[in-house]
Symmetry: C2
Subunit: 250 residues, 2 copies
DNA sequence: CGAACTTTTGATATCACTCAAGGGACGTGG
DNA sequence: CCACGTCCCTTGAGTGATATCAAAAGTTCG
């Protein structure tokens, strides 16, 4: 399922990038984060990192690829409740509770790091700025969840997808994983369906409509957004919930 | 809009009840919480406690009634993203971010307490057990949000409503605001619609169906669940996400 | 080259929305 | 204590959005 691998590419460190969007880090902070994220391993698609019902043990840092939080219902239906992108740390808060009420699962091939609980505790105590950034990051995750709820509750299928694509553009740009108009989206239409609370067939048709309207291109796992501002208007996307660029209050 | 009122009834203090569900409190902790929650004021229905776009200032503690977190879309649509019940503290985490991305609004008449930021900071520093319980409480709120997402994404209208009613039963029981089978639900069908991402007409018809199946009664703001286990089965409700009764890990 | 996925298409069924109007309940003022 | 307004709940009819089922076409990868 996984093996230790040296970090491969020369992409910017996504964790550092992300946290610097929330607060100012010292050289020591940065060095620490770089050190942590050195020992990565590859995990194949559709593999549980943390399983529902288990007691969380340590946290996972996503370095490459996409993972998610998901739940299953009795008749095999599933709902994805969050995407975990490069730079996202998961399981930190979950550790405070006894039992996972959902699973954390890879969607694509992922390069991840597991950080032991003790290491994590030490970091939080000795690097207050990192702790602060992680705290803020958690709040943004929660705000994102709320926006997803609006998405499912009050938008049509095409708007829903468009909104998700807008969000991913912003989030991936923030960690240097997207150009101005394009990014890798290694998801299946069924994955999108389980994210948006719709059927895979309807995802297919909605994607076609977005393509026809010239809002997106989506081929071979690469999503391209012709004019992001147009897609944002279509989806009524306001990035404020991601709290990028507003250095948070003390 | 509001005025200071002495605490009226002899109901148990909901904040104490709630936090004791998450951790063990000392007498000093309890005394502190009681002291804080003494100076309540009444707020009329449909009043913003915190407005979208504003900078959060202080936290609000709900002592009686129901409030919510909500967002509005352009064409007047709204989506309720969380219910705030007696014992719920809101705005604590929000304060770490610069700007509210949603509003906190009363649904019914509420008895609330506003706690100043300085007071809150002091409490968190001098009462670690309270801080810990509040932290866990926040995580449960997030888990609740995730479950709501499953609800909107993967359940039919009747199941959705049933699931909400099950959740409220558990949460209200935990703060002594519900009997084994019944509680006050001072909401309009339009409120329910904006919670469930459906139209008010469809809420009406779905409620009728739940009534016909003998699963609920709902009259004059009072909801009664004949046999909770039946309703839970119908909604596929598992209370684990509320993390009641599992004393969380250290 | 073939097996296993994934995407696409068509046809049909169903769930939920919109619009519009009637019926209650409740509070207020005369 | 009645009249009236205002919400809120309820009903009906028609429409629209999305799901389901089934099968064909395209991809990917060993």
């Amino acid at each position: 399922m996984s093996q230790v691998e040296p970090s491969a590419t020369s992409l910017p460190n996504p964790l550092v990038r992300k946290l610097e969007g929330f607060t100012t880090l010292s050289d020591a902070d940065r060095a620490l984060l770089e050190r942590i994220s050195a020992e990565t391993r590859l995990v194949s698609p559709r593999t549980d990192l943390v399983r529902q019902g288990a007691k969380p043990d340590g946290v996972f840092l996503i370095m490459e690829g996409m993972a998610c939080r998901q739940k299953h219902r009795a008749k095999g239906q599933r709902q994805i409740m969050a995407y975990l992108l490069p730079g996202d740390l998961c399981g930190l808060d979950d550790a405070l509770l006894n039992k996972m009420d959902h699973s954390i699962t890879t969607l694509s091939i992922c390069r991840v790091v597991r950080v032991a609980p003790e290491t994590m505790t030490e970091i939080l105590q000795q690097h207050p700025q990192v702790a602060r950034a992680l705290r803020i990051s958690g709040l943004v995750d929660e705000a994102t969840l709320r926006e997803w709820l609006v998405n499912l509750g009050r938008r049509y299928a095409t708007e829903r997808l468009a909104h998700l694509f807008c969000e991913l553009l912003v989030r991936l740009q923030a960690v240097g994983r997207a150009t101005e108009i394009s990014y890798a989206l290694p998801l299946t239409q069924a994955d999108l369906a389980d994210t948006m609370g719709m059927s895979d067939v309807h995802v297919n048709r909605s994607l076609q409509e977005l393509r026809q309207q010239g809002l997106i291109e989506f081929r071979r796992g690469q999503l391209t957004i012709g004019r992001p501002s147009r897609l944002q208007a279509f989806a009524e996307f306001k990035a404020d919930y991601l709290h990028r660029g507003d250095q948070a209050a003390t």
